[in-house]
C-alpha cells in the first residue's frame, strides 16, 4: 500500500500522450487525463532506460505528421 516518491523500490510505468511525448508515472497512482500506458513497468531507472530506446524523435507527433505531409505534397 505504502508508496514512496523517489526510491529504488517504487514501481513506475512508462506513459505517453497524444503527441507521443514520453514520461514516467507512479504505477500505483491514477494516470492523469490524456496519458496512456506504453506497457513497461519497473523501477525508475528501468522505465527511463526503456524510454531512451523507444523515444528517438523528440518532435511532437503533430509536427512530425505535418512535416511528412509537406515533403510528400
Amino acid at each position: 500500500m505504502s508508496e514512496q516518491p523517489n526510491d529504488d523500490r517504487t514501481v513506475y510505468r512508462v506513459v505517453l500522450n497524444d503527441e507521443e511525448q514520453y514520461s514516467i508515472w507512479w504505477a500505483a497512482r491514477e494516470l492523469p487525463a490524456g496519458w496512456r500506458e506504453e506497457g513497461t513497468t519497473g523501477t525508475r531507472e528501468e522505465c527511463l532506460a526503456r524510454i531512451s530506446e523507444i523515444w528517438t524523435d523528440l518532435r511532437p507527433l503533430s509536427l512530425r505528421r505535418r512535416m511528412a505531409e509537406a515533403v510528400t505534397a
Binding site: S2, N17, Q21, I24, G34, L48, L58
Partner: protein, 1698 residues
C-alpha cells in the same frame, strides 16, 4: 540624501492632447466615458465632440497662447471641452459653476476676460458681458472634421490656469505647462500600469488640480473615465454607490473624504478597486488600515504636491507592516526633483527638517500676471544653472531610507514654551488612539500672552477623557509635545475643498466641558483643589474631583510649582513626573496614599507555613521565570491570565465587590508584589485594597468584546501590585466577572479554584450565609520556600543531566509565517476556535487505546505530524504544560504551580501513524518522570536564550484538557464571545483542546499576531482537521502521505497556479517570431531597429551603427537564402559563432526565415566545449566570420575526427552573400511548432544539456514579456541588450523589442563589463528597459545609476530585498523574474515595491502555470516549502538527444489540460496566501553547521543589510564537523570592521548562523553571466582564523566598570576572576538571563540608570553595553534638562564612577 540627481524625463516625449488623440485612433470603439446615468461614450464619440469644440474655437479665432474658460457641470461634455481647448492650441481655465459670481469674475479678470465654454445651466452663473460659446448649442453644431495635431503641441505652452487661494485673498492663477501635467499623468499610467480595464472616478470639482489626474489618466491609458453624479463629492454614500456601480478600479481623494467614506456600508461592492490615492492632507496609518480592511488587497498610495508643480511630486505606498502614525509622502515621481533646504538655502542632512523645494518637469510656468510673486516662490536652483525650484512652504525631512516625511506648513508650525512643535506629529500620535477618529493640534493664546498646545479631538463613541489621552500620548511623545487642553469636536468645519478649516475650530476656553463636575469628596481632594485655585485663579467651587489641571488652563510649566505646593499641603513627597499623568484632583489626592511596607522573617522545613519576613520571601523557580520575562518586556500584557466567571445576573455590584475583597483576603498571592532586593527578586504580601474593581454595562457582543479586550490589554505593575483586578461585565440577562491575574499569581488550575471560591463567596455575600470553603493549610509563598529547598543543587544537576541528553541538538520549529520574525519577540496574540467532530475524536481515541496511548498522547502525535508536514522537519520540540501540584496541601491554593516540559517528537516522515503514536507515548511518559525541574532552569542551562525573536526551547505548545476541569465558561459560544478579547500568545502557536459533552473536542489555536494572520491560523486548523480525518481512516499510511489540504483550500490553491491574462497579451502563435517581426517592420520600415554602440575603450567615443527595420530584414533575407543553399531548413540546426553586431540579429532572423533553428556558441568558451555543443546539437551549418570558422573547424576535427565537415557561412568573406540582391524576405509561413533554438545549460552533474525550444512557446513568452513590461507603450522604447546569446534572456533583449516595434540597443563586447559605459549607453540612446542580474544592478548603482525613468528587471538568482527596495526607488519599475531555459526564459514575475521585506518571484505569466508541489506532486498549503513545478504552454520540447532526462523532468501534469506536461524545476519554493511565489533554494541546498540547519542565503541577507556592506556572499567552507560559514563582503566605502560586522550578524542571527569568518574582498568574482562565481572565492585557513577571540582591553571608566561587574557576576570574587575582554560575548562566557538581570541590577547601583534586561541581550559585549549605558545616561540628562532647564553645573556634576 537630499536628492541632487535629476531623475530624467517621463518616458517618451508625447503630450496629453496627442496621446489621447492616438488612443482614440487605436481603440475608437472602446468606452471612454461612463456618465452618472450609466450611459457610455466611446473614444470615437469623445474625439468627435472634442474635434467640434476645437473647430468652433478655431473659428472664433482661438489659437496658441490663448486661454479659454470652461464653465461646465460634470457631464460628458466636460472632458470633450477640455480636450477641444487643447486641440485648438489653447489652455483652459476651469470655472466652477458652483462658485460665487464674484470669484468667477476675479478669475476671468485675471485671465483678461477670455472666451468661456458654457452650457445653458451654467451660463447664468457667469458675470454679465462674458463672451460665451455654448457647448450645447454653438460648439455642438460646428461643421467639419477637425484633425488634432493641426496645431503643434508645445511642451512649454500652458495647458491650464488654475487658481489657488492666495494669502491676500485674491486668487493666484498658476500656469501649468503641457510637459508638467503630461509628466504627472504619464507617471501614473506607467508606474501603476493603468490600462484598458481601468476605470477611474472623476469626482473632484474641476477647479482643483487633482481633477486633471482623474480626467486624463484613464483616457491616456485607454481606460474609462467614470463621472460621479452631481453633488457626489459632498455625499459619501452617493460617491461609494457611484464607484461600486461603475466597478471603479482607481480612486483618489483627500483623507477627510476617505474618513467619511470608510464609515459607509457597501465597500464589499467595490471588489474591482485596486488603487487608492490619497492627496491634499496628511494621511494617517490608522485610516489606511481601515481602508485596507474595507478593500482587501487594495494598494494605498499617499501622494503629495502643490498645484505649482503639476498636481503631485512624491508618492509612497502604504505598508501595513511598516507604517504607523503619519504615513510618509515618499519619494519624488519620475521627472521631478525634491530638495530640502534650510533658511539659508542650504540642503539639510537626513532627519533634519527643511523647506521642501520642487524642481523638474512638473514645475509650473509661474503665476499669471504676477511676476513679483512668481520670482518670490520660484527661486533659482542652487546647483543647476538656469533651473528653478518652487518653494512649497511645506516642511519635511528625509528618512534614512530615502522617503520624505511631511511635517506641516511652515506657517502652521507653532512654538509653545519655547519648543518648536510640528502639529502633524502630535496629530499622528493622537489618531493612533483607538477611540480617536481625527485630531487637529494647534497653539492657542493664553491669558498671560503665551501659548498652549490644544488638541481638537473627534472620537468614536464616547470621548476619551483628557487624562486618558495625555497618558496615551505620553508613551509616544516627549512632554513638551503633549497638548494641555483637549476639545471634543463632533463635526469639523470644512473648507470648500473638503479639508479641515483650521481657522474655524472652536476656542478651547469657551468649549463646553466634557462631563459634569463631581464635587470634591475627601480632605485630600479639597487640599488639592485649593492649591489649584490659588495657582490658576479659578474659584474653588468650580473645581471638582474630576476636574483636569490642564483643561482648567494649567500649563506644564506650572507643574513644578504645583508639586512644591502639594508636597507641602499633603505632607508627602509629590514628584513632578507623577503630576503629569495624575492630572485630576482625585488622582493627585490619591498620590498621598503611598503605602509603607510591612514585613516578617522565618525559616521552616516541610511544606508548612513559613514566617513572613519583612524583606520578603524568595520566589518559586517558576515565578522567577515569569518575573524575568516581565522584566524583559516591562508592562507587557503577555502574562495576563484571564478567568471568566459567570454569576447570577441578579447579584448586585456590592455583593460581587464584597466577594472579591474576600477572595483577596483568602488568597495571599493576590496581595503579593514582587521587587528586587539586591540582585534577587522577592515576594512581599503587603498590598492592601482598595482593589481595582470596575463595572461595565454592555448591550451587544461587539461592545462586550471591546471592553474585555481593553481590560486584558492593561498591563500589571509587579513591583507595586496589585497583580490582579476585576471587571464586572453586565448584560441584559448575564453577569460575567472578568478576573485578570498576572500569570505570576495564577495558572489554569488556579483559575478553576478562583472561580469556585468567587461563586461561593458571592452567594454568601448575597444571602448572608457564610461560605463553606476548604481550609488552606498553606499559601503559595510557603510552597515557594519549600520548593526552593527541595530543588537542591545536586537534585537540579541530576535532572539537568537527563534533559541535556534528551534535548541534545534540539532544532527550532519554524512554522511557515505570514511575516518575517521580529528581532524581539512580540507577544501580541489572538485565538482561533475550531471543533474536532465527535466521530473523528472517538476514532482517534479508540485507535490510541488499542496502541496503549491516551487521547492526549494520540492527539499530540497527530499535532506533531501537522508541524512536520508544515515545516518539512520531523524532529520537533513541543511544549507541554504540567500541573505541578503533587502535594495535597496545595490543591486549593492559588498561584503559579504550572511547569512546562519540552517533548521531543521525532517520528520520521515515513513512519506510520501507529508508530508515531507509540513513540510520542514513550517520550511523554519518560519526560513526566523528570517534570520537577523548573522550565526556566532548563532554558538557562540549555541556552536558546540568545534568540530574542523566539520563545526558548520550543516554539509551539500543545495541551489537552480532559473531563473534570470545567468552569462555567467553557462552551464554544462562551469562548467565542471572549476569544476576540484574547491579546496574548504564549508561543508562536499553542493548541489547546477540551473535551465536550457530545464527544467532540473544542480546540483553541492561540497564535502570535506578529507572525500569523487570522486567516492563516484558520487554514492551519482546517488542515489539521483534514489530517486527523485522514490519519483516523488510514492509520497505517505514512505520515507524509496523509491528506492535508481541505478540498476548498486545495481548489483555491490550484486555481492560483494559473497565470492570469495580462492586458494586451494573448496573441495566438500561428507562425514564427521572424514573421511577426516582418509584420512589424512593414508598418514603419524606416524606424530604427538596432543600434550597435560602443562606449568604452579605444573604439569608444560613442561610435554608433544604426540599422533600420528594412535594412535588418533585407540582410536577414540574404542570409536566409544562403542558408537554404547550404541545406538549412525546418528542424535543422545552425550553429552561430558571432561577435555582437547587428549581423548577429540578422543572422538569427535569417535562420528562422529559412525555417531552421539556431544554436548559439560563446566565442569565449574553450574550443572543446564548442566542439561538443556543435556535435551534440547535430548542427549542420555554422555561421561565423572567417576566423571563427577556421577555429571551429579545427576544434571539431580534433574532437570528432569521424564527423562529416560542417557547411560554413562566413559573413565577412562569403562572396555569394556579398553579391546577394537587396530584397525583402519571402513571405514563407513556417510551422509554429518547429524548433527555434537549442541552448545548452550547464547541468549540475555531467555534460551540458541542449534545451530545445519551439517558436510557438518563444513567441508566447516574448508577447507576455512585452505586455508585462509595457514595452512599446511609448513608440520610442529601447532595450539595452547586454546578455550573451548563449543565455536565453538574450531572446527577450534581441527579439522582443523587434516584435513590439521598438529598438534594440546592442552593447558591444567592450561595454559588457564596463558599468559606466552602460550608463552612457542608457543616456545616449534613451534606453527604457534593461535586465541584468542582481550583482550587476548593484554595480550599476555604484557606477552612478542615480534615479532614472527606466523599467528594470532582474532574475537568475535571488535578489536581496535591500537591492529590490533601492531599485524600486530609483527606477520607474523594478521586476523580479524567475525562469529556467526549460520554461522558455521566464515563468513568473513580481513587481518590486520600495517597502519589500522579501523578494518573491511572483506569479506565473499568462500562458504558464506554476505550482508548489510535494514529492507526490500534490499541492502543499501556503507557506510550506515544496518543489516549484511549471506547466502550461511555455515549456521547452525537451533535452536534445536525452529522452530519459526529458521523460524524468517533464512529467504528466495532473492539473493541466489532458496530455500536457509539467516541468519539475528542482527549485524549492513556497506560496504566499496572495498567490505570490517565493524562491527558497535548490533542492538539497541546506547545510548543517554544528548539527543545525542553516540556509546561507539567510545569513547573506543579514550581512548585506549592513549599511556599510555593498555586496556579500556566504558559503560553506569545509565539510562535516569542520563545516563553517564564511562570509565574503565588499564594502561601500563607508568603512566598517570585521568585528562590527560580526556584531551586526550576532545581533540578528542565532549563534550558530553567525559566520565563523568574514573575508573582505575588493570585488566579488563573477562568472560570464555576472553571477557570483563561488568556486573562485578564496578559501581561508579556518583553523587559524577560528582561534580564540583576542583579548581586547576595556577602555575608559565605563567599560572598565562593566568588565568588573561582569567578572563579579560571572565568577564571584573579582580578584580571582579571569579578565574580561571588551569584545567577549556575555553568553559565550557563561552568562544567562538570571546573571544578565544581576548585571542590570549592578549597573543601576553603579551608574544610577535603569536599563531594561534585554539591553544585555542586545549589547552582549562590554564595549557595546558601555555604549548603551552612556546612551541611557545621556537620555537621563537630557530629560532633566527639558523638565527643569537646569544650569550647566547641574549637568556636569554627574561623573561616571569607576
Amino acid at each position: 540624501m537630499n536628492d541632487q540627481t535629476p531623475s530624467g524625463t517621463a518616458p517618451g516625449r508625447l503630450l496629453l492632447p496627442a496621446l489621447i488623440a492616438a488612443q482614440a485612433a487605436r481603440t475608437p470603439e472602446a468606452p471612454a466615458l461612463r456618465a452618472a446615468d450609466g450611459s457610455v461614450r466611446s473614444y470615437a464619440e469623445l474625439a468627435e465632440q472634442a474635434g467640434r469644440v476645437a473647430a468652433s474655437l478655431r473659428a472664433r479665432g482661438v489659437g496658441p497662447g490663448d486661454i479659454v474658460g470652461v464653465c461646465l457641470r460634470r457631464g460628458p461634455g466636460l472632458p470633450a471641452a477640455l480636450l477641444g481647448v487643447w486641440w485648438a492650441g489653447a489652455a483652459y481655465l476651469p470655472l466652477d459653476p458652483a462658485h460665487p459670481a464674484d470669484r468667477l469674475a476675479l478669475q476671468l479678470e485675471d485671465c483678461d476676460q477670455p472666451l468661456v465654454l458654457a452650457e445653458a445651466a451654467t451660463e447664468a452663473a457667469l458675470p454679465d458681458f462674458t463672451a460665451t460659446l455654448r457647448l450645447d448649442a454653438d460648439a455642438g453644431t460646428a461643421a467639419g472634421p477637425f484633425v488634432p495635431g493641426e496645431v503643434p503641441f508645445d511642451p512649454e505652452a500652458p495647458a491650464y490656469v488654475l487658481h489657488t487661494s492666495g494669502s491676500t485673498g485674491r486668487p493666484k492663477g498658476v500656469l501649468v505647462p503641457h510637459r508638467g501635467i503630461a509628466n504627472r499623468v504619464r507617471w501614473l499610467v506607467h508606474k501603476h500600469r493603468l490600462g484598458a480595464a481601468d476605470r477611474m472616478l472623476l469626482k473632484t470639482t474641476v477647479g482643483f488640480d487633482a481633477a486633471g489626474l482623474e480626467l486624463f489618466a484613464p483616457l491616456v491609458a485607454g481606460g474609462t473615465l467614470v463621472l460621479a453624479p452631481e453633488g457626489a463629492e459632498r455625499d459619501p454614500a452617493a460617491l461609494l454607490r457611484a464607484a461600486a456601480d461603475a466597478e471603479v478600479t482607481v480612486l483618489q481623494a483627500v483623507p477627510s473624504v476617505y474618513r467619511r467614506l470608510v464609515e459607509e456600508p457597501g465597500w464589499n461592492r467595490l471588489h474591482a478597486l485596486r488603487l487608492l490615492f490619497s492627496a491634499g492632507e496628511p494621511l494617517h496609518a490608522e485610516l489606511c488600515r481601515r481602508l485596507a480592511a474595507a478593500v482587501p488587497g487594495v494598494e494605498i498610495w499617499n501622494t503629495y504636491g502643490p498645484t505649482e508643480a503639476s498636481v503631485d511630486v512624491t508618492e509612497h505606498r502604504f505598508d501595513a507592516e511598516v507604517d504607523s502614525g503619519a504615513v510618509p509622502i515618499g519619494r519624488p515621481l519620475g521627472g521631478t526633483q525634491v530638495l530640502l533646504l534650510d533658511q539659508a538655502g542650504r540642503p539639510v542632512p537626513v532627519g533634519v527638517p527643511g523647506e521642501l523645494h520642487v524642481g523638474g518637469a512638473g514645475l509650473a510656468l509661474g503665476y499669471l500676471g504676477r511676476p513679483g510673486l512668481t520670482a518670490e516662490r520660484f527661486v533659482p536652483h542652487p546647483v543647476t544653472p538656469g533651473a528653478r525650484l518652487y518653494r512649497t512652504g511645506d516642511r519635511a525631512r528625509w528618512r534614512a531610507d530615502g522617503a520624505l516625511e511631511y511635517l506641516g506648513r511652515l506657517d502652521q508650525q507653532v512654538k509653545v514654551n519655547g519648543v518648536r512643535i510640528e502639529p502633524g506629529e502630535v496629530e499622528a500620535a493622537l489618531v493612533a488612539h483607538p477611540w480617536v477618529r481625527e485630531a487637529v493640534v494647534g497653539a492657542v493664546p493664553t491669558a498671560d500672552g503665551g501659548y498652549r498646545l490644544a488638541a481638537w479631538v473627534q472620537s468614536r463613541g464616547e470621548a476619551p477623557r483628557p487624562d486618558e489621552l495625555r497618558a496615551f500620548l505620553r508613551r509616544a511623545l516627549p512632554e513638551p509635545l503633549l497638548p494641555t487642553v483637549y476639545v471634543p469636536v463632533s463635526a469639523w468645519p470644512l473648507t470648500a475643498s473638503g479639508k479641515i478649516d483650521r481657522g474655524a475650530l472652536p476656542n478651547p476656553s469657551t468649549a463646553a466641558p466634557a462631563e459634569a463636575l463631581v464635587p470634591v469628596r475627601t480632605a485630600a481632594e479639597r487640599l488639592v483643589a485649593e492649591q489649584w485655585s490659588e495657582l490658576l485663579g479659578t474659584p474653588v467651587d468650580e473645581i471638582g474631583a474630576n476636574s483636569d489641571f490642564f483643561q482648567l488652563g494649567g500649563s506644564s510649566l506650572q507643574l513644578t510649582r504645583l508639586a512644591v505646593r502639594l508636597t507641602e499641603a499633603l505632607g508627602t513627597v509629590v514628584p513632578v513626573r507623577r503630576l503629569l499623568l495624575a492630572s485630576t484632583v482625585a488622582a493627585q489626592a490619591a498620590l498621598r496614599e503611598s503605602a509603607a511596607e510591612a514585613g516578617a522573617d522565618a525559616a521552616p522545613t516541610a511544606l508548612l507555613p513559613v514566617h513572613r519576613r519583612a524583606e520578603g520571601l524568595p520566589l518559586a523557580p517558576g515565578q522567577q521565570g515569569l518575573w524575568l520575562a516581565d522584566r524583559l518586556r516591562p508592562g507587557s500584557a503577555e502574562w495576563t491570565a484571564p478567568v471568566f466567571v459567570r454569576l447570577p445576573a441578579d447579584l448586585d455590584d456590592d455583593a460581587v465587590y464584597a466577594a472579591l475583597e474576600e477572595l483577596a483576603d483568602r488568597h495571599e498571592i493576590l496581595r503579593t508584589r514582587y521587587l528586587l532586593r539586591g540582585a534577587e527578586p522577592v515576594q512581599l504580601a503587603d498590598v492592601t485594597g482598595p482593589w481595582q474593581i470596575a463595572t461595565a454595562t454592555v448591550t451587544d457582543p461587539e461592545q462586550r468584546s471591546r471592553v474585555i479586550a481593553a481590560e486584558l490589554a492593561r498591563p500589571f505593575d509587579l513591583e507595586h501590585g496589585p497583580v490582579w483586578r476585576a471587571l464586572l461585565v453586565r448584560e441584559a440577562r448575564a453577569l460575567t466577572v472578568v478576573l485578570s491575574v498576572h500569570h505570576i499569581a495564577c495558572d489554569g488550575w488556579s483559575s478553576v479554584v478562583l472561580e469556585r471560591d468567587l461563586r461561593a463567596l458571592a452567594e454568601a455575600a448575597a444571602t448572608g450565609v457564610p461560605a463553606v470553603l476548604p481550609e488552606l493549610p498553606v499559601q503559595y509563598a510557603d510552597h515557594a520556600v519549600h520548593l526552593r529547598r527541595r530543588l537542591s543543587e545536586p537534585a537540579i544537576e541530576a535532572e539537568l543531566a537527563y534533559w541535556r541528553r534528551a534535548l541534545d541538538g534540539l532544532p527550532t520549529v519554524d512554522l511557515p509565517t505570514d511575516r518575517p520574525r521580529p528581532d524581539l519577540r512580540d507577544a501580541a496574540g489572538a485565538a482561533h476556535l475550531f471543533t474536532v467532530p465527535a466521530p473523528v475524536a472517538e476514532a482517534l481515541a479508540t485507535l490510541g487505546r488499542s496502541w496503549g496511548a491516551t487521547l492526549p498522547e494520540t492527539l499530540l502525535a497527530a499535532f506533531a505530524a501537522l508541524v512536520g508536514r508544515l515545516t518539512g522537519h520531523w524532529d520537533l520540540p513541543i511544549g507541554i504544560p504540567v500541573a505541578g501540584r503533587d502535594q495535597d496541601e496545595v490543591a486549593d491554593v492559588v498561584g503559579f504551580f504550572l511547569n512546562t516540559l519540552v517533548l521531543r517528537c521525532d517520528a520520521p516522515a515515513e513512519s506510520t501513524f501507529r508508530d508515531a503514536v507509540a513513540l510520542v507515548r514513550d517520550r511523554s511518559r519518560e519526560a513526566r518522570t523528570h517534570a520537577d525541574l523548573p522550565f526556566h532552569r532548563l532554558v538557562e542551562e540549555l541556552g536558546g536564550g540568545r534568540d530574542l525573536g523566539r520563545t526558548p526551547l520550543y516554539q509551539v505548545m500543545f495541551d489537552v484538557h480532559e473531563e473534570g476541569r470545567t468552569g462555567t465558561v467553557t462552551g464554544a459560544e462562551d469562548l467565542e464571545a471572549f476569544r476576540s478579547g484574547w491579546r496574548v500568545a504564549r508561543t508562536d502557536l499553542t493548541v489547546v483542546l477540551q473535551r465536550q459533552e457530545d464527544g467532540s473536542l473544542l480546540g483553541m489555536a492561540e497564535y502570535a499576531t506578529a507572525l500569523f494572520d487570522a486567516a492563516t491560523v484558520e487554514r492551519l486548523a482546517d488542515c489539521w482537521l483534514r489530517l486527523l480525518e485522514s490519519l483516523a481512516t488510514r492509520p497505517f499510511a505514512r505520515l507524509d502521505e496523509a491528506e492535508l489540504l481541505p478540498e476548498r483550500l486545495r481548489t483555491r490553491i490550484l486555481a492560483q497556479g494559473l497565470g492570469l491574462p495580462e492586458p494586451g497579451a494573448g496573441l495566438r502563435a500561428v507562425t514564427g517570431v521572424e514573421a511577426v517581426v516582418a509584420e512589424t517592420a512593414a508598418v514603419a520600415p524606416e524606424d530604427t531597429a538596432v543600434v550597435c554602440a560602443v562606449e568604452s575603450g579605444a573604439a569608444g567615443n560613442g561610435a554608433v551603427e544604426s540599422w533600420s527595420y528594412r535594412r535588418l530584414l533585407r540582410r536577414a533575407a540574404a542570409v536566409a537564402a544562403r542558408l537554404r543553399g547550404l541545406g538549412a531548413g525546418p528542424e535543422t540546426r545552425v550553429a552561430l559563432l558571432l561577435p555582437r553586431t547587428p549581423d548577429l540579429i540578422a543572422t538569427v532572423l535569417g535562420c528562422w526565415q529559412a525555417g531552421a533553428a539556431y544554436v548559439p556558441l560563446d566565442p569565449a568558451a574553450p574550443d572543446e566545449r564548442l566542439a561538443y555543443v556543435v556535435a551534440d546539437a547535430g548542427a549542420t551549418v555554422l555561421v561565423s566570420d572567417g576566423a571563427g570558422a577556421d577555429r571551429l573547424a579545427r576544434a571539431v576535427a580534433a574532437a570528432m575526427p569521424d564527423r562529416a565537415p560542417l557547411a560554413v557561412l562566413a559573413l565577412d568573406t562569403d562572396a555569394e552573400l556579398a553579391a546577394a540582391p537587396e530584397a525583402d524576405p519571402a513571405a514563407e509561413r513556417h510551422d509554429p511548432a518547429r524548433l527555434a533554438y537549442v541552448m545548452y545549460t550547464s547541468g549540475s552533474t555531467g555534460r551540458p544539456k541542449g534545451v530545445e525550444v519551439e517558436h510557438r512557446t518563444l513567441l508566447r513568452m516574448l508577447r507576455a514579456a512585452q505586455a508585462h513590461l509595457d514595452f512599446g507603450v511609448g513608440p520610442d522604447d529601447a532595450w539595452l541588450a547586454l546578455a550573451q546569446p548563449t543565455f536565453d534572456i538574450s531572446c527577450t533583449e534581441l527579439f522582443m523589442p523587434l516584435v513590439a516595434g521598438g529598438r534594440v540597443v546592442l552593447a558591444g563586447e567592450q561595454d559588457q563589463n564596463d558599468h559606466r559605459a552602460q550608463l552612457r549607453l542608457i543616456d545616449r540612446h534613451e534606453v527604457t528597459h534593461l535586465q541584468v542580474a542582481p550583482a550587476h544592478w548593484q554595480m550599476l548603482i555604484d557606477a552612478g545609476l542615480g534615479r532614472r525613468v527606466l523599467v528594470g528587471q532582474t532574475g537568475g538568482e535571488p535578489c536581496p530585498p535591500s537591492l529590490a527596495r533601492e531599485l524600486s526607488r530609483r527606477l520607474q519599475r523594478f521586476v523580479n523574474e524567475y525562469g529556467l531555459t526549460e520554461t522558455t526564459i521566464a515563468a513568473t514575475r513580481w513587481e518590486a515595491s520600495d517597502a519589500a521585506v522579501t523578494v518573491p518571484v511572483g506569479s506565473p505569466y499568462p500562458h504558464v502555470t506554476a505550482r508548489v508541489l510535494d514529492a507526490w506532486l500534490r499541492p502543499v498549503p501556503y507557506g510550506v516549502v515544496g518543489e516549484l513545478c511549471v506547466g502550461g504552454v511555455g515549456l521547452a520540447r525537451g533535452y536534445h538527444g536525452r529522452a530519459d532526462l526529458t521523460a524524468a523532468a517533464f512529467v504528466p501534469d495532473p492539473y493541466g489540460a489532458p496530455g500536457t506536461r509539467l516541468y519539475r524545476t528542482g527549485d524549492l519554493a513556497r506560496q504566499r496566501p496572495d498567490g505570490a511565489l517565493e524562491f527558497v533554494g535548490r533542492q538539497g541546498g541546506h547545510v548543517k553547521i554544528r548539527g543545525r540547519r542553516v540556509d546561507p542565503g539567510e545569513v547573506q541577507g543579514v550581512l548585506v543589510e549592513h549599511p556599510a556592506v555593498a555586496q556579500a556572499v556566504v558559503v560553506v567552507q569545509g565539510t562535516g564537523p569542520e563545516a563553517a560559514l564564511v562570509g565574503y563582503w565588499v564594502g561601500d566605502g563607508h568603512g566598517t570592521t570585521e568585528a562590527q560586522l560580526l556584531d551586526h550578524c550576532a545581533a540578528k542571527l542565532a549563534d550558530y548562523m553567525v559566520p565563523a569568518l568574514l573575508v573582505h574582498l575588493d570585488e566579488l568574482p563573477l562568472n560570464r553571466h555576472n553571477k557570483v562565481d563561488t568556486a573562485a572565492l578564496p578559501v581561508p585557513d579556518l583553523t587559524a582564523a577560528l582561534g580564540d577571540e583576542p583579548y581586547t582591553e576595556p577602555e575608559g571608566p565605563v567599560e572598565e566598570a562593566l568588565a568588573e561587574i561582569w567578572a563579579e557576576v560571572l565568577h564571584g570574587e573579582p580578584a580571582q576572576a579571569p579578565r574580561i575582554g571588551a569584545r567577549q560575548g556575555f553568553f559565550r562566557i557563561g552568562g544567562n538571563s538570571v546573571r544578565a538581570a544581576r548585571v542590570v541590577a549592578r549597573i543601576q547601583e553603579e551608574f544610577d540608570v535603569e536599563l531594561p534586561l534585554r539591553a544585555v541581550f542586545e549589547h552582549p559585549t562590554v564595549a557595546r553595553l558601555a555604549e548603551a549605558v552612556e546612551e541611557a545616561l545621556r537620555a537621563e540628562l537630557e530629560a532633566l534638562h527639558l523638565v527643569t532647564a537646569p544650569t550647566a553645573d547641574a549637568v556636569v556634576s554627574r561623573e561616571y564612577s569607576s
